[in-house]
């Protein structure tokens, strides 16, 4: 990431050596294991990986939404302010106002018993940004920005009166109404129909670019990240295995896991008689993880060293890779 942005400007979000542990029966479970990343204002970073890779835990740790039994170590800094171990009251003030969060499923993340208008103005009231009629006007303007048709009527409607796509637009409006500097979107289109997915992604891109907002997008869908993000970080078993400019990583992956993810994609012109190039084996479950690289047991290129030492994330042409046997440029698909 530093490779692409050679600026002296400080990052908006700087995560360093972050680990998230849960107490396990025998040994603690490490959902996130020593992750470092940085995100600059106005840029977007896509976190990709399989379920259980720790990407959602990592993203939700930023606004302090990890379950209370989790133990965080390392550092998360937002505009220089340390968030790990920050006072709950301080985190409460940052949530919504400085960090907006878009949840996966708007049908469960919107309060069923409150009108759209109430849920929007509530955020402004929580941060003392606007009350009463002023808040209502701001809510209306926000609904128009997310291009919700018939915005005036929608203010008085309940979530169940809206379709899934419109609900996700409301979710975006709630996340953005207090003008946060950072938006975290956890699988924002996974619960939606494919037909409305593109519209939501386009809108999200437009909203964050227009305001100079930084975006941290969590997704298992490479196509979503490719279309929306400047940079990408691929996670596996709680660690980042490869990161860099999205286009470069996705066209010329260096880590065998990234290459495997790309090869397993189906496109319209995939031949029907050739089986999908699935990565053999399963991602490691919750539990003590083997020594060395988390991906080694499933990796065709694994060396003896891969099973003993954890490879460090090191700079390598376009980005950073954590691998002892990365793909050479010529081998890349």
């Amino acid at each position: 990431m530093r490779s692409i942005r050679m600026s002296s400007e400080a990052p908006l979000l700087a995560i360093e050596a972050l680990a998230i542990e849960f107490a396990g029966a025998a040994a603690p479970l490490r959902a996130v294991d020593g992750v470092s990343l940085a995100l600059w204002p106005g840029r977007s970073l896509g976190l990709v990986g399989e379920s259980g890779a720790g990407k959602s835990q990592l993203a939700l740790a930023v606004p302090g939404l990890t379950p209370r039994q989790a133990r965080l170590t390392g550092s998360i800094r937002l505009a220089g302010e340390e968030l790990v171990g920050a006072a709950p009251a301080r985190l409460r003030r940052l949530r919504g106002a400085r960090i907006g969060t878009v949840f996966q499923d708007p049908s469960t993340a919107l309060a069923p018993h409150l009108t759209i208008g109430t849920q929007l103005t509530e955020v402004l009231a929580a941060h003392a940004q606007a009350h009463g009629a002023a808040a209502r006007r701001a809510a209306l303007a926000m609904l128009e920005r997310v291009r919700l048709p018939d915005a005036v009527t929608r203010l008085g409607q309940y979530p169940h009166e809206l379709s899934g796509g419109l609900r996700q637009r409301v979710m975006l409006a709630i996340a953005l109404i207090a003008r946060p500097a950072l938006v975290i979107a956890d699988e924002p289109t996974t619960a939606l129909d494919v037909t409305v997915e593109a519209g939501i992604l386009e809108l999200l891109a437009e909203l964050v670019r227009g305001e100079g907002t930084a975006l941290l997008l969590v997704s298992h869908d490479l196509a979503v990240v490719a279309g929306l993000c400047d940079e990408i970080a691929v996670m596996y078993a709680g660690r980042i295995v490869e990161s860099g400019p999205a286009r470069a990583v996705l066209t010329a992956p260096a880590h065998p896991y990234t290459a495997g993810l790309l090869a397993a994609r189906l496109t319209l012109d995939s031949p029907l008689d050739v089986p999908v190039a699935a990565i053999p084996g399963n991602p490691p479950g919750a539990g003590p993880r083997p020594a060395g690289c988390g991906f080694a047991p499933r990796c065709a290129r694994a060396l003896e060293r891969c099973r003993q030492e954890v490879p460090l994330l090191l700079a390598r042409d376009h980005g950073q890779v954590a691998c002892y046997a990365p793909l050479a440029p010529a081998e890349r698909p």
Partner: protein, 270 residues
């Protein structure tokens, strides 16, 4: 919301009892504490001056029973209201706070639960005057405990819901989340539980008054009417049967209504 027929029938019975309790005494020339020296211990009869008879002192049983219904319902209703406010507030805070606060608050409830109740009431009536207010205080002190447990459990379940997490993620302060997001979603189970609490508290009030610990003569409550009726049960069974019928009708109707509400609002457990 659609209620099953027993619940709708119960609603009608309850309406009739309530209307009688509030308006019935106006239709009768007698009032609850008035003695009729000419007609003591008269059996019920539509042709006489007292439709449902009189007690040993010549007081009209129709008017007295309705007075009893009113007093018993008022005490149980008020106590339920208090248990609603206290129980919902206490339970929602404990359930939402979780962790050590929750453990501490619920252990306090356990301690209250384990106090010997009748002993506690006797103590109260000794310390305070034997008035309806004392009975109300005694019942209220206990009524909210179960409500707090029900609400705390529901709140813990609600806290796992994503829209609560979304409100947290938007920076909404905890008191607002409790008041605006948690409490309205408790309405179903709380309403059902409150409806089922009222008959329980009516019976409790009757039990206390029957033992002489509750509402005192000459004031009437269903409990002390039953106590007097029980003394004359062999010679004048109507003195027991009349207030008893009112008690059974009210308690059964409330029970059926609660069951119906539970099925209509919230089919699971409680």
């Amino acid at each position: 919301m659609r209620l099953a027929w027993p619940a709708r029938a119960a609603l009608v019975v309850l309406g009739v009892v309530l209307a009688l309790a509030l308006l019935g005494p106006l239709a009768s020339p007698w009032h609850a504490e008035q003695l009729d020296w000419q007609r003591m211990a008269v059996a019920p009869g539509l042709d006489g001056a007292h439709w449902l008879g009189t007690d040993r002192l010549g007081r009209d049983l129709f008017v007295r029973s309705l007075e009893g219904v009113r007093v018993s319902l008022a005490i149980a209703g008020l106590a339920t209201l208090v248990s609603l406010v206290l129980g919902v507030g206490y339970g929602a805070i404990a359930g939402y706070a979780g962790g050590r606060v929750d453990a501490l608050m619920m252990r306090a409830v356990d301690v209250f639960y384990s106090l010997p109740y009748v002993f506690f009431v006797i103590l109260l009536t000794v310390v305070l005057e034997r008035r309806p207010a004392t009975v109300f205080l005694a019942i209220g002190a206990v009524g909210w405990l179960t409500m707090a447990r029900v609400v705390r459990g529901e709140t813990r379940r609600l806290r796992e819901r994503e829209f609560i997490e979304a409100a947290v993620a938007a920076g909404v302060p905890a008191p607002t989340i409790l008041w605006r997001h948690v409490v309205p979603n408790l309405a179903g189970p709380v309403l059902v539980y409150a409806t089922l609490t009222v008959p329980g508290l009516i019976l409790l009030e009757s039990f206390l008054s029957f033992l002489g610990l509750g509402v005192q003569e000459p004031a009437a409550s269903l409990g002390n009417l039953l106590a007097q009726g029980a003394q004359e049960m062999e010679a004048a069974p109507w003195m027991l049967l009349v207030p008893c019928s009112f008690l059974i009708a009210t308690v059964l109707a409330l029970g059926f209504l609660g069951e119906g509400l539970r099925d209509a609002l919230d089919p699971h457990e409680l």
